[in-house]
Protein backbone atom coordinates (compact mmCIF):
# COMPACT_ATOMS: atom_id res chain seq x y z
CA UNK A 1 0.00 0.00 0.00
CA UNK A 2 1.17 3.50 -0.79
CA UNK A 3 2.14 5.88 2.00
CA UNK A 4 -0.19 8.40 0.42
CA UNK A 5 -3.19 6.29 1.44
CA UNK A 6 -1.70 4.63 4.45
CA UNK A 7 -1.08 7.84 6.35
CA UNK A 8 -4.76 8.72 6.26
CA UNK A 9 -5.84 5.16 6.94
CA UNK A 10 -3.74 5.05 10.11
CA UNK A 11 -5.19 8.34 11.23
CA UNK A 12 -8.80 7.42 10.49
CA UNK A 13 -9.82 5.38 13.59
CA UNK A 14 -8.41 8.01 15.93
CA UNK A 15 -10.05 10.78 13.95
CA UNK A 16 -13.44 9.07 14.09
CA UNK A 17 -13.16 8.29 17.79
CA UNK A 18 -12.08 11.80 18.76
CA UNK A 19 -14.94 13.17 16.73
CA UNK A 20 -17.41 10.83 18.39
CA UNK A 21 -16.13 11.34 21.92
CA UNK A 22 -15.27 15.03 21.98
CA UNK A 23 -16.18 17.10 18.93
CA UNK A 24 -19.73 15.83 18.49
CA UNK A 25 -20.71 16.13 22.19
CA UNK A 26 -19.16 19.58 22.27
CA UNK A 27 -21.32 20.72 19.38
CA UNK A 28 -24.35 19.09 20.95
CA UNK A 29 -23.68 20.89 24.24
CA UNK A 30 -23.38 24.14 22.31
CA UNK A 31 -26.81 23.65 20.79
CA UNK A 32 -28.44 22.67 24.10
CA UNK A 33 -27.04 25.78 25.76
CA UNK A 34 -29.30 27.85 23.48
CA UNK A 35 -32.36 25.80 24.45
CA UNK A 36 -34.83 25.78 27.26
CA UNK A 37 -34.78 22.17 28.34
CA UNK A 38 -35.87 21.05 31.79
CA UNK A 39 -35.68 17.30 31.86
CA UNK A 40 -38.20 17.15 34.68
CA UNK A 41 -40.87 18.66 32.44
CA UNK A 42 -40.08 17.46 28.97
CA UNK A 43 -38.22 14.66 27.22
CA UNK A 44 -37.23 16.96 24.37
CA UNK A 45 -36.01 20.56 24.26
CA UNK A 46 -39.00 22.89 24.45
CA UNK A 47 -37.78 26.22 23.15
CA UNK A 48 -34.96 27.87 21.32
CA UNK A 49 -34.10 30.74 23.65
CA UNK A 50 -30.82 31.88 22.05
CA UNK A 51 -28.66 33.64 24.67
CA UNK A 52 -31.21 33.65 27.50
CA UNK A 53 -29.36 31.00 29.53
CA UNK A 54 -26.15 33.00 29.37
CA UNK A 55 -27.98 36.23 30.11
CA UNK A 56 -29.63 34.64 33.12
CA UNK A 57 -26.27 33.44 34.45
CA UNK A 58 -24.61 36.83 34.38
CA UNK A 59 -27.50 39.07 35.36
CA UNK A 60 -29.88 37.04 37.46
CA UNK A 61 -27.98 34.35 39.32
CA UNK A 62 -25.81 35.24 42.33
CA UNK A 63 -24.92 31.55 42.75
CA UNK A 64 -23.34 31.51 39.31
CA UNK A 65 -21.35 34.68 39.93
CA UNK A 66 -20.25 33.18 43.25
CA UNK A 67 -19.08 30.01 41.48
CA UNK A 68 -17.05 32.16 39.08
CA UNK A 69 -15.21 33.75 42.00
CA UNK A 70 -14.76 30.41 43.77
CA UNK A 71 -13.30 28.88 40.61
CA UNK A 72 -10.80 31.71 40.17
CA UNK A 73 -9.73 31.48 43.83
CA UNK A 74 -9.31 27.73 43.59
CA UNK A 75 -7.42 27.80 40.29
CA UNK A 76 -5.03 30.52 41.44
CA UNK A 77 -4.44 28.84 44.80
CA UNK A 78 -4.05 25.29 43.61
CA UNK A 79 -2.03 25.99 40.45
CA UNK A 80 0.35 28.31 42.27
CA UNK A 81 0.46 26.09 45.35
CA UNK A 82 1.04 22.83 43.49
CA UNK A 83 3.86 24.27 41.38
CA UNK A 84 5.63 25.76 44.43
CA UNK A 85 5.15 22.52 46.40
CA UNK A 86 6.44 20.57 43.40
CA UNK A 87 9.47 22.83 43.13
CA UNK A 88 10.30 22.40 46.82
CA UNK A 89 10.06 18.63 46.53
CA UNK A 90 12.18 18.68 43.39
CA UNK A 91 14.92 20.76 45.01
CA UNK A 92 14.94 18.32 47.91
CA UNK A 93 15.07 15.14 45.86
CA UNK A 94 16.92 16.01 42.65
CA UNK A 95 20.10 14.18 43.55
CA UNK A 96 21.77 11.05 42.40
CA UNK A 97 21.91 8.01 44.62
CA UNK A 98 19.83 5.07 45.67
CA UNK A 99 18.08 6.72 48.60
CA UNK A 100 16.85 9.48 46.35
CA UNK A 101 15.59 7.21 43.63
CA UNK A 102 13.64 5.18 46.20
CA UNK A 103 12.18 8.40 47.62
CA UNK A 104 11.16 9.43 44.11
CA UNK A 105 9.15 6.24 43.66
CA UNK A 106 6.87 7.52 46.39
CA UNK A 107 6.15 10.68 44.40
CA UNK A 108 3.97 8.83 41.92
CA UNK A 109 1.65 7.43 44.58
CA UNK A 110 -0.41 10.55 45.39
CA UNK A 111 -0.96 11.19 41.69
CA UNK A 112 -1.93 7.61 40.99
CA UNK A 113 -4.38 7.60 43.88
CA UNK A 114 -7.98 7.99 42.86
CA UNK A 115 -9.13 11.56 43.61
CA UNK A 116 -12.46 10.13 44.71
CA UNK A 117 -10.76 7.97 47.34
CA UNK A 118 -8.59 10.90 48.35
CA UNK A 119 -11.63 13.15 48.74
CA UNK A 120 -13.55 10.67 50.92
CA UNK A 121 -10.58 9.80 53.08
CA UNK A 122 -9.42 13.37 53.60
CA UNK A 123 -12.95 14.15 54.70
CA UNK A 124 -12.57 11.59 57.45
CA UNK A 125 -9.04 12.65 58.29
CA UNK A 126 -10.36 16.16 58.90
CA UNK A 127 -13.18 15.11 61.19
CA UNK A 128 -12.77 17.05 64.45
CA UNK A 129 -13.64 14.00 66.53
CA UNK A 130 -11.75 11.09 65.04
CA UNK A 131 -9.72 12.46 62.13
CA UNK A 132 -6.00 11.78 61.95
CA UNK A 133 -5.19 15.15 60.33
CA UNK A 134 -7.16 16.92 63.01
CA UNK A 135 -5.37 14.97 65.75
CA UNK A 136 -1.91 15.70 64.33
CA UNK A 137 -2.64 19.38 63.74
CA UNK A 138 -4.10 19.80 67.21
CA UNK A 139 -0.98 18.28 68.71
CA UNK A 140 1.33 20.49 66.65
CA UNK A 141 -0.66 23.72 66.89
CA UNK A 142 -2.76 23.74 70.07
CA UNK A 143 -4.38 27.07 69.14
CA UNK A 144 -6.10 25.34 66.20
CA UNK A 145 -7.66 22.72 68.47
CA UNK A 146 -11.24 23.82 68.06
CA UNK A 147 -11.34 24.44 64.33
CA UNK A 148 -14.07 22.66 62.41
CA UNK A 149 -11.97 22.30 59.25
CA UNK A 150 -14.70 21.76 56.70
CA UNK A 151 -17.31 23.77 58.57
CA UNK A 152 -15.85 27.23 58.01
CA UNK A 153 -15.68 28.65 54.52
CA UNK A 154 -12.08 29.86 54.69
CA UNK A 155 -10.74 26.55 55.96
CA UNK A 156 -12.87 24.52 53.58
CA UNK A 157 -11.34 26.35 50.59
CA UNK A 158 -7.87 26.02 52.12
CA UNK A 159 -8.30 22.27 52.47
CA UNK A 160 -9.72 21.96 48.99
CA UNK A 161 -6.53 23.61 47.70
CA UNK A 162 -4.26 21.58 50.00
CA UNK A 163 -5.94 18.33 48.96
CA UNK A 164 -5.37 19.19 45.33
CA UNK A 165 -1.74 20.17 46.04
CA UNK A 166 -1.13 16.83 47.73
CA UNK A 167 -2.28 15.10 44.56
CA UNK A 168 -0.44 17.25 42.01
CA UNK A 169 2.66 18.65 43.75
CA UNK A 170 4.60 15.37 43.79
CA UNK A 171 3.68 14.64 40.17
CA UNK A 172 4.80 18.06 38.99
CA UNK A 173 8.00 17.59 40.98
CA UNK A 174 8.83 14.56 38.81
CA UNK A 175 8.73 16.83 35.76
CA UNK A 176 10.88 19.39 37.57
CA UNK A 177 13.40 16.80 38.81
CA UNK A 178 13.93 15.88 35.17
CA UNK A 179 14.63 19.53 34.44
CA UNK A 180 16.91 19.98 37.45
CA UNK A 181 19.01 16.90 36.76
CA UNK A 182 19.59 18.02 33.19
CA UNK A 183 21.19 21.32 34.23
CA UNK A 184 24.86 20.75 33.35
CA UNK A 185 26.97 20.34 36.46
CA UNK A 186 29.71 22.54 34.98
CA UNK A 187 27.39 25.53 35.10
CA UNK A 188 26.66 25.02 38.78
CA UNK A 189 30.31 24.41 39.59
CA UNK A 190 31.36 27.50 37.68
CA UNK A 191 28.92 29.52 39.77
CA UNK A 192 30.31 28.02 42.96
CA UNK A 193 33.91 28.73 41.94
CA UNK A 194 32.89 32.32 41.29
CA UNK A 195 31.83 32.43 44.94
CA UNK A 196 28.07 32.35 44.50
CA UNK A 197 26.13 31.07 47.51
CA UNK A 198 23.56 28.33 47.10
CA UNK A 199 20.86 30.97 47.36
CA UNK A 200 22.32 33.18 44.60
CA UNK A 201 23.00 30.30 42.27
CA UNK A 202 19.41 29.12 42.72
CA UNK A 203 18.07 32.49 41.51
CA UNK A 204 20.67 33.15 38.82
CA UNK A 205 21.43 29.69 37.44
CA UNK A 206 18.87 27.10 38.46
CA UNK A 207 15.62 29.03 38.15
CA UNK A 208 16.25 30.53 34.70
CA UNK A 209 17.24 27.11 33.34
CA UNK A 210 14.16 25.55 34.88
CA UNK A 211 11.79 28.22 33.57
CA UNK A 212 10.51 26.34 30.49
CA UNK A 213 9.59 23.26 32.55
CA UNK A 214 8.06 25.40 35.30
CA UNK A 215 5.95 27.22 32.75
CA UNK A 216 4.65 23.99 31.25
CA UNK A 217 3.91 22.61 34.71
CA UNK A 218 1.98 25.76 35.55
CA UNK A 219 -0.11 25.70 32.36
CA UNK A 220 -0.86 22.00 32.77
CA UNK A 221 -1.91 22.49 36.38
CA UNK A 222 -4.08 25.51 35.57
CA UNK A 223 -6.02 23.52 32.99
CA UNK A 224 -6.57 20.65 35.41
CA UNK A 225 -7.56 22.99 38.23
CA UNK A 226 -10.34 24.41 36.08
CA UNK A 227 -11.61 20.90 35.39
CA UNK A 228 -11.43 19.63 38.99
CA UNK A 229 -14.68 18.14 40.28
CA UNK A 230 -14.09 15.12 42.50
CA UNK A 231 -12.75 16.93 45.57
CA UNK A 232 -15.57 19.43 45.67
CA UNK A 233 -18.15 16.68 45.41
CA UNK A 234 -16.67 14.35 48.01
CA UNK A 235 -14.68 16.61 50.33
CA UNK A 236 -16.74 19.74 50.82
CA UNK A 237 -19.93 19.16 48.84
CA UNK A 238 -19.61 22.75 47.65
CA UNK A 239 -20.07 24.01 51.18
CA UNK A 240 -20.31 25.33 53.74
CA UNK A 241 -22.99 27.35 52.05
CA UNK A 242 -21.71 27.87 48.52
CA UNK A 243 -18.19 28.77 49.56
CA UNK A 244 -16.50 25.98 47.60
CA UNK A 245 -19.05 25.59 44.82
CA UNK A 246 -16.88 25.81 41.68
CA UNK A 247 -18.34 26.25 38.19
CA UNK A 248 -17.91 22.57 37.43
CA UNK A 249 -19.79 21.66 40.57
CA UNK A 250 -22.48 24.27 39.98
CA UNK A 251 -23.02 23.10 36.40
CA UNK A 252 -23.26 19.54 37.71
CA UNK A 253 -25.90 20.56 40.25
CA UNK A 254 -27.92 22.51 37.71
CA UNK A 255 -27.78 19.53 35.34
CA UNK A 256 -28.31 16.60 37.66
CA UNK A 257 -30.22 17.84 40.65
CA UNK A 258 -32.24 20.62 39.01
CA UNK A 259 -32.32 18.78 35.64
CA UNK A 260 -32.05 22.08 33.80
CA UNK A 261 -30.03 20.85 30.83
CA UNK A 262 -30.00 24.10 28.89
CA UNK A 263 -28.77 26.19 31.77
CA UNK A 264 -26.21 23.61 32.90
CA UNK A 265 -24.78 23.44 29.38
CA UNK A 266 -24.54 27.21 29.24
CA UNK A 267 -22.56 27.30 32.51
CA UNK A 268 -20.30 24.49 31.35
CA UNK A 269 -19.71 26.40 28.14
CA UNK A 270 -18.77 29.57 29.98
CA UNK A 271 -16.24 27.46 31.88
CA UNK A 272 -14.84 26.05 28.64
CA UNK A 273 -14.55 29.53 27.12
CA UNK A 274 -12.82 30.81 30.24
CA UNK A 275 -10.36 27.94 29.99
CA UNK A 276 -9.72 28.62 26.31
CA UNK A 277 -9.19 32.31 27.07
CA UNK A 278 -6.72 31.67 29.88
CA UNK A 279 -4.81 29.08 27.84
CA UNK A 280 -4.63 31.45 24.87
CA UNK A 281 -3.05 34.11 27.05
CA UNK A 282 -0.57 31.58 28.47
CA UNK A 283 0.44 30.32 25.05
CA UNK A 284 0.93 33.85 23.81
CA UNK A 285 3.23 34.49 26.76
CA UNK A 286 5.09 31.19 26.61
CA UNK A 287 5.53 30.72 22.89
CA UNK A 288 5.66 34.29 21.57
CA UNK A 289 6.55 33.27 18.01
CA UNK A 290 3.70 30.80 17.66
CA UNK A 291 6.18 27.96 18.09
CA UNK A 292 3.75 25.66 19.86
CA UNK A 293 3.88 22.49 17.84
Amino acid sequence: MRDRHLKYLLMMPAFLLVTATVIYPLGYAGIISFMDWRLSRSRVPTDFVFLDNFWRAFTDDPSFLNSLGVTITFVAGSAGGAVVFGLLIALLLARRGRTYSVARTVLVLPFAMSPALQGTSFRFFLNPEFGIFDAVLDALFPFLAHVDWLGSSGWAMTWLILTDMWHWGPFLSLMLIGGLLSIPRDTLEAARVDGASAWTSFWTVVLPQLMPVLAIAFVLKTVFSFKMFDYVYLLTGGGPGESTSTMTYYAFRMGFTAYDMGYASAIAFVLALLLVGVSAVYFRLLFPKGAAG
Partner: protein, 277 residues
Protein backbone atom coordinates in the same frame (compact mmCIF):
# COMPACT_ATOMS: atom_id res chain seq x y z
CA UNK B 1 29.22 33.44 60.68
CA UNK B 2 31.34 31.50 63.07
CA UNK B 3 30.30 28.08 61.86
CA UNK B 4 33.04 26.19 60.04
CA UNK B 5 32.21 25.02 56.51
CA UNK B 6 32.44 21.41 57.57
CA UNK B 7 30.06 21.88 60.46
CA UNK B 8 27.74 23.79 58.16
CA UNK B 9 27.69 20.93 55.68
CA UNK B 10 26.80 18.65 58.54
CA UNK B 11 23.85 20.78 59.63
CA UNK B 12 22.58 21.06 56.08
CA UNK B 13 22.77 17.30 55.70
CA UNK B 14 20.66 16.80 58.82
CA UNK B 15 18.12 19.41 57.79
CA UNK B 16 17.77 17.76 54.40
CA UNK B 17 17.22 14.41 56.09
CA UNK B 18 14.51 15.83 58.33
CA UNK B 19 12.81 17.55 55.40
CA UNK B 20 12.75 14.32 53.41
CA UNK B 21 11.36 12.41 56.40
CA UNK B 22 8.57 14.98 56.84
CA UNK B 23 7.78 14.88 53.12
CA UNK B 24 7.54 11.09 53.11
CA UNK B 25 5.31 11.17 56.19
CA UNK B 26 2.99 13.69 54.54
CA UNK B 27 2.78 11.69 51.31
CA UNK B 28 2.65 8.18 52.74
CA UNK B 29 0.80 8.84 55.99
CA UNK B 30 -2.69 9.18 54.52
CA UNK B 31 -2.23 6.08 52.34
CA UNK B 32 -0.96 4.04 55.28
CA UNK B 33 -3.86 5.23 57.42
CA UNK B 34 -6.36 3.97 54.84
CA UNK B 35 -4.72 0.54 54.89
CA UNK B 36 -4.66 0.47 58.67
CA UNK B 37 -8.30 1.44 58.93
CA UNK B 38 -9.30 -1.26 56.48
CA UNK B 39 -8.00 -3.99 58.81
CA UNK B 40 -9.18 -2.43 62.07
CA UNK B 41 -12.02 -3.94 64.07
CA UNK B 42 -15.04 -1.65 64.21
CA UNK B 43 -14.36 -0.68 67.83
CA UNK B 44 -10.98 0.80 66.89
CA UNK B 45 -11.90 2.53 63.63
CA UNK B 46 -12.84 5.81 65.21
CA UNK B 47 -9.75 5.98 67.44
CA UNK B 48 -6.12 6.89 66.78
CA UNK B 49 -4.88 3.53 68.00
CA UNK B 50 -2.01 1.81 66.23
CA UNK B 51 -2.23 -1.41 68.25
CA UNK B 52 -5.20 -3.59 67.53
CA UNK B 53 -6.13 -7.09 66.51
CA UNK B 54 -6.16 -7.04 62.67
CA UNK B 55 -9.35 -8.36 61.11
CA UNK B 56 -10.71 -9.08 57.65
CA UNK B 57 -14.31 -8.33 58.66
CA UNK B 58 -14.43 -5.13 56.67
CA UNK B 59 -13.36 -6.90 53.51
CA UNK B 60 -15.95 -9.58 54.10
CA UNK B 61 -18.63 -6.94 54.58
CA UNK B 62 -17.99 -5.02 51.38
CA UNK B 63 -18.34 -8.11 49.20
CA UNK B 64 -21.76 -8.88 50.59
CA UNK B 65 -25.18 -7.29 50.33
CA UNK B 66 -25.86 -4.41 49.75
CA UNK B 67 -22.45 -3.24 48.56
CA UNK B 68 -21.29 -6.01 46.19
CA UNK B 69 -17.81 -4.59 45.75
CA UNK B 70 -16.86 -7.74 43.80
CA UNK B 71 -19.15 -6.73 40.95
CA UNK B 72 -17.89 -3.17 41.04
CA UNK B 73 -14.31 -4.37 40.95
CA UNK B 74 -15.12 -6.38 37.84
CA UNK B 75 -16.75 -3.32 36.25
CA UNK B 76 -13.72 -1.19 36.97
CA UNK B 77 -11.32 -3.75 35.56
CA UNK B 78 -13.41 -4.35 32.44
CA UNK B 79 -14.04 -0.69 31.66
CA UNK B 80 -10.43 0.41 32.20
CA UNK B 81 -9.11 -2.67 30.44
CA UNK B 82 -11.23 -2.26 27.30
CA UNK B 83 -10.51 1.47 27.23
CA UNK B 84 -6.78 0.76 27.14
CA UNK B 85 -7.10 -2.11 24.65
CA UNK B 86 -9.05 0.05 22.20
CA UNK B 87 -7.47 3.41 22.91
CA UNK B 88 -3.77 2.59 22.79
CA UNK B 89 -3.60 0.77 19.41
CA UNK B 90 -5.77 3.42 17.77
CA UNK B 91 -3.59 6.14 19.27
CA UNK B 92 -0.41 4.35 18.21
CA UNK B 93 -1.51 4.23 14.57
CA UNK B 94 -2.39 7.91 14.58
CA UNK B 95 0.80 8.83 16.44
CA UNK B 96 2.94 7.02 13.88
CA UNK B 97 1.18 8.81 11.09
CA UNK B 98 1.63 12.18 12.80
CA UNK B 99 5.28 11.51 13.48
CA UNK B 100 6.43 10.11 10.14
CA UNK B 101 4.35 11.50 7.29
CA UNK B 102 4.02 14.91 5.74
CA UNK B 103 0.39 15.92 5.50
CA UNK B 104 -1.67 18.93 4.75
CA UNK B 105 -3.19 20.49 7.91
CA UNK B 106 -1.06 18.15 10.02
CA UNK B 107 -0.12 20.84 12.52
CA UNK B 108 -3.70 22.04 12.78
CA UNK B 109 -4.96 18.49 13.29
CA UNK B 110 -2.40 17.79 15.98
CA UNK B 111 -3.16 21.02 17.79
CA UNK B 112 -6.83 20.06 17.52
CA UNK B 113 -6.07 16.77 19.26
CA UNK B 114 -4.24 18.65 22.01
CA UNK B 115 -7.04 21.19 22.31
CA UNK B 116 -9.54 18.45 23.18
CA UNK B 117 -7.59 18.02 26.43
CA UNK B 118 -8.70 21.50 27.38
CA UNK B 119 -12.39 20.64 27.22
CA UNK B 120 -13.78 20.30 30.75
CA UNK B 121 -15.40 16.88 31.26
CA UNK B 122 -18.56 18.51 32.60
CA UNK B 123 -19.20 20.03 29.15
CA UNK B 124 -18.99 16.65 27.46
CA UNK B 125 -20.85 14.65 30.06
CA UNK B 126 -24.16 16.52 29.71
CA UNK B 127 -24.65 15.66 26.02
CA UNK B 128 -23.38 12.14 26.68
CA UNK B 129 -26.02 11.69 29.34
CA UNK B 130 -28.75 12.78 26.92
CA UNK B 131 -27.33 10.69 24.05
CA UNK B 132 -26.88 7.57 26.15
CA UNK B 133 -30.40 7.92 27.48
CA UNK B 134 -31.69 7.70 23.95
CA UNK B 135 -29.30 4.94 22.84
CA UNK B 136 -29.93 2.90 26.03
CA UNK B 137 -26.23 3.05 26.85
CA UNK B 138 -26.64 4.49 30.34
CA UNK B 139 -25.25 2.15 32.96
CA UNK B 140 -23.41 -0.11 30.47
CA UNK B 141 -19.77 -1.05 29.89
CA UNK B 142 -20.02 0.05 26.26
CA UNK B 143 -21.10 3.53 27.24
CA UNK B 144 -18.42 3.86 29.89
CA UNK B 145 -15.64 2.69 27.56
CA UNK B 146 -16.86 5.12 24.91
CA UNK B 147 -16.73 8.13 27.19
CA UNK B 148 -13.46 7.10 28.83
CA UNK B 149 -11.88 7.11 25.38
CA UNK B 150 -12.52 10.84 25.29
CA UNK B 151 -10.00 11.37 28.10
CA UNK B 152 -7.56 8.69 27.10
CA UNK B 153 -7.24 8.95 23.34
CA UNK B 154 -5.93 12.51 22.82
CA UNK B 155 -3.52 12.04 25.68
CA UNK B 156 -2.20 8.74 24.29
CA UNK B 157 -1.77 10.18 20.78
CA UNK B 158 0.24 13.07 22.18
CA UNK B 159 2.38 10.87 24.38
CA UNK B 160 3.09 8.23 21.73
CA UNK B 161 3.91 10.81 19.07
CA UNK B 162 6.50 12.27 21.42
CA UNK B 163 7.92 8.80 21.90
CA UNK B 164 8.06 7.88 18.20
CA UNK B 165 9.66 11.24 17.42
CA UNK B 166 12.69 10.21 19.47
CA UNK B 167 13.24 7.02 17.45
CA UNK B 168 15.67 7.65 14.56
CA UNK B 169 14.11 7.15 11.12
CA UNK B 170 17.31 5.84 9.51
CA UNK B 171 16.54 2.19 10.21
CA UNK B 172 13.14 2.47 8.60
CA UNK B 173 14.57 4.25 5.58
CA UNK B 174 17.29 1.63 5.16
CA UNK B 175 14.75 -1.19 5.28
CA UNK B 176 12.54 0.59 2.75
CA UNK B 177 15.41 1.06 0.28
CA UNK B 178 16.04 -2.66 0.67
CA UNK B 179 12.54 -3.15 -0.66
CA UNK B 180 10.50 -3.72 2.50
CA UNK B 181 6.95 -2.36 2.42
CA UNK B 182 5.85 0.29 4.88
CA UNK B 183 3.59 -2.13 6.73
CA UNK B 184 6.42 -4.60 7.17
CA UNK B 185 8.67 -1.83 8.41
CA UNK B 186 6.04 -0.90 10.96
CA UNK B 187 5.61 -4.47 12.10
CA UNK B 188 9.25 -5.57 12.19
CA UNK B 189 11.14 -2.40 13.02
CA UNK B 190 8.86 0.19 14.59
CA UNK B 191 6.67 -1.97 16.82
CA UNK B 192 9.48 -3.72 18.72
CA UNK B 193 11.15 -0.45 19.70
CA UNK B 194 7.90 1.29 20.63
CA UNK B 195 6.86 -1.40 23.12
CA UNK B 196 8.20 0.50 26.18
CA UNK B 197 6.40 3.68 25.10
CA UNK B 198 3.20 1.79 24.44
CA UNK B 199 3.49 0.23 27.86
CA UNK B 200 3.85 3.57 29.62
CA UNK B 201 1.02 5.14 27.61
CA UNK B 202 -1.13 2.14 28.46
CA UNK B 203 -0.39 2.56 32.16
CA UNK B 204 -1.30 6.23 32.12
CA UNK B 205 -4.53 5.51 30.25
CA UNK B 206 -5.37 2.78 32.72
CA UNK B 207 -4.83 5.14 35.67
CA UNK B 208 -7.02 7.80 34.09
CA UNK B 209 -9.98 5.55 33.43
CA UNK B 210 -9.51 3.53 36.64
CA UNK B 211 -9.73 6.75 38.68
CA UNK B 212 -12.52 8.40 36.72
CA UNK B 213 -15.30 9.53 39.01
CA UNK B 214 -17.41 12.20 37.29
CA UNK B 215 -18.38 10.14 34.23
CA UNK B 216 -19.21 7.04 36.23
CA UNK B 217 -21.17 9.08 38.77
CA UNK B 218 -23.46 10.49 36.11
CA UNK B 219 -23.62 7.69 33.57
CA UNK B 220 -24.00 4.62 35.80
CA UNK B 221 -26.76 3.64 38.22
CA UNK B 222 -26.58 0.01 39.29
CA UNK B 223 -25.09 -2.41 36.77
CA UNK B 224 -21.91 -0.67 35.61
CA UNK B 225 -20.99 1.23 38.78
CA UNK B 226 -17.21 1.44 39.23
CA UNK B 227 -15.13 1.35 42.41
CA UNK B 228 -14.64 5.11 42.91
CA UNK B 229 -18.40 5.73 42.72
CA UNK B 230 -19.00 2.88 45.15
CA UNK B 231 -17.24 4.99 47.77
CA UNK B 232 -20.12 7.42 47.90
CA UNK B 233 -22.59 4.60 48.61
CA UNK B 234 -21.00 4.16 52.04
CA UNK B 235 -22.56 7.41 53.20
CA UNK B 236 -25.49 5.35 54.48
CA UNK B 237 -28.54 6.09 56.59
CA UNK B 238 -26.87 4.55 59.64
CA UNK B 239 -24.00 7.01 59.17
CA UNK B 240 -20.76 7.02 57.24
CA UNK B 241 -19.14 3.61 57.10
CA UNK B 242 -15.54 4.78 57.05
CA UNK B 243 -14.09 1.32 57.65
CA UNK B 244 -15.87 -0.03 54.55
CA UNK B 245 -14.67 2.89 52.47
CA UNK B 246 -11.13 2.16 53.59
CA UNK B 247 -11.47 -1.50 52.63
CA UNK B 248 -12.82 -0.55 49.19
CA UNK B 249 -10.11 2.09 48.91
CA UNK B 250 -7.51 -0.61 49.35
CA UNK B 251 -8.75 -2.27 46.18
CA UNK B 252 -8.65 1.03 44.33
CA UNK B 253 -5.06 1.55 45.48
CA UNK B 254 -3.57 -1.89 44.90
CA UNK B 255 -2.97 -1.75 41.13
CA UNK B 256 -1.58 1.76 41.54
CA UNK B 257 1.28 0.49 43.65
CA UNK B 258 2.45 -1.90 40.99
CA UNK B 259 2.04 0.75 38.37
CA UNK B 260 3.74 3.65 40.10
CA UNK B 261 7.03 1.79 40.08
CA UNK B 262 7.06 1.74 36.28
CA UNK B 263 5.93 5.33 35.92
CA UNK B 264 8.69 6.60 38.18
CA UNK B 265 11.24 4.72 36.13
CA UNK B 266 9.92 6.23 32.93
CA UNK B 267 10.28 9.77 34.26
CA UNK B 268 13.72 9.35 35.73
CA UNK B 269 15.01 7.50 32.68
CA UNK B 270 14.02 10.44 30.56
CA UNK B 271 15.76 12.76 32.98
CA UNK B 272 19.02 10.91 33.44
CA UNK B 273 19.46 10.07 29.78
CA UNK B 274 19.89 13.77 29.22
CA UNK B 275 22.44 14.31 31.96
CA UNK B 276 24.73 11.30 32.06
CA UNK B 277 26.21 12.02 28.68
Amino acid sequence: MAVSPRRRGHILFCLRGIAIAVLLAVLLGPIAWIFLTSIKPLSEVYTMSLWFEPTLDNFRAIFERPFYVGDRLLNSIAISGFTVLIGVPVALAAAYSFSRFAMRFKKTLFLGVLATQFVPPIVVVLPFFLMFRQLHLLDTWTGMVWINLSIVLPFAIWMLKGFIDTIPVEMEEAAMTDGATRLRVIRDIVLPVTIPGVFVAGIFCFIFSWNDFLYALILTRKEAVTLPVTLSTFYTEEGDRWELMAATGTFILLPMFAISYFVQRHFVQGATQGSDR
